[in-house]
Amino acid sequence: MEPPRSSGVGIDNSGEYSPEIAETLRFEEEIQSLIHPSSFDGSAAPTGGGSFTALLGLPANQAVELLHDSGAREPLASRIRVGEHPVHRPFHLPLDCSSAFPSNATLVDRAARFSVFAAEGSPASSSGRLKAEPQDSDSPPLDPIPTGPAKRKDTGRSKAKVTAKKSKNAEENTDGDKLPYVHVRARRGQATDNHSLAERARREKINARMKLLQELVPGCSKITGTALVLDEIINHVQTLQRQVEFLSMRLAAVNPRIDFSSLDSYLSAECGPVTVRNGPGGVVVDPSLWPTDATAEATRRLLVPQFWHIDLVPPQLQPQQSLTTWERDGAAHSQLLPNPTTSLFLYDPANSGDTNVPHRTAKLKTAEDRALNL
């Protein structure tokens, strides 16, 4: 008789036992082995690993086999935010949710390109529940876990496994962007240490972003070396900010001649349908996401009704003449404008020669002065 497991039994592993005791002990062992999987199952059920077997198109028993192989180890899901490069990493069938994957959300940007899975693990050593787990694993993906300190990683066991499935899974995972957990396999010949994996992913992410920035900033593509690129970027940002300041000064000097108010009303009418087309959801988004606006200050409340009141006036006053001026000048000025992107600018010169908007009331002026109080 083999000695009983001391785990749950609490029996000394010393000496021999009478057959009955041994029998009972063994029985207990079996029961425990049954219990554990079921306990795993209980905890794994809500957390399963996404329908990976479904994704993989593997029949359940193969998955079971794989899971068996991966066994119950200290499974770690690296809390890695995978970068943008399509890296070939061997698969690891995660569903060994056998791994106690912390619900650490390892958010994946381009999970699709990687042979990664989202899984949430609970130590399920036995594989019997795999069928249940795959389906359940869909639930956690929507569940981004706060960035805890626990970084875990799959200790690469079955690295060689499922490499064939890599491509299939990559395709299947195109919508895996939402999957929060990433099990990343180390590349061949690279350290599989927790930290180095995480660092590597982070470095890749940073490099990808740097490349993006390089593309944005003109003249940065030729530069090699992070420091110089960063330097160039900083210079560019400073230049742009200085330009904004300079242009605002020029605009301030030029401003008195320009009449924007009628332009405003026309443009809002013009762009009303456009905005609806562009972002109907935007209107919904904004009020909720700009809570600071809700705390309306007194000046704003004061100003708004006035604004609307005033704005209504010009359209009635000059609807026809503004239209005619636009028609007249639109063609003439279309070549004048360097900017081809928007048609709004066609209207600019049309209005610049218009009569000045009559001075506003003193009340409005003081209110706006308050708003402008710098």
Binding site: L213, I234, H236, S261, V283
Partner: protein
Amino acid sequence: MYRRSFKDTRSSLGSPNPNFSKPMVALRFLRALSLVRRSGLGACSPSYRARGIRRAAYACMAASAGPRRAWSRALLRKIRRRPGRGLRRPRAVIWRHRPVGGGDRLEVALRRLVPGGGCMEYCRLLEEAADYVKCLAMQVRLMQTIVDSASHV
């Protein structure tokens, strides 16, 4: 004035999140400009107006970039905080992920340039910087166009 332009543009326009909606920025900016102009036709001095225009420019930029961006939120907060608030009460800013050390001089400089860059991780900082640069460039082009067309006629 920029506040006003926010409120009414927000209610009437909504803001599509992608940054490529230049007409939106243009519209907002023009509205803001008209408000500035209406504020007593050049409230006292060109420099005063220039400052107002600059704030309007940044505000429009941030508003059209959308609330999803950290820099736009931070920028608007900064703009709206100024009048009257000062240091009235110590703001309990939750510095999430306070960056460690800030060793790189370049990194620190970038943090200072990008609004809201004080408490972001490096990767996010780069991301936000890219978006910020894009938006800034658009705004500059817009303003340049306006000035050009204004001074031509």
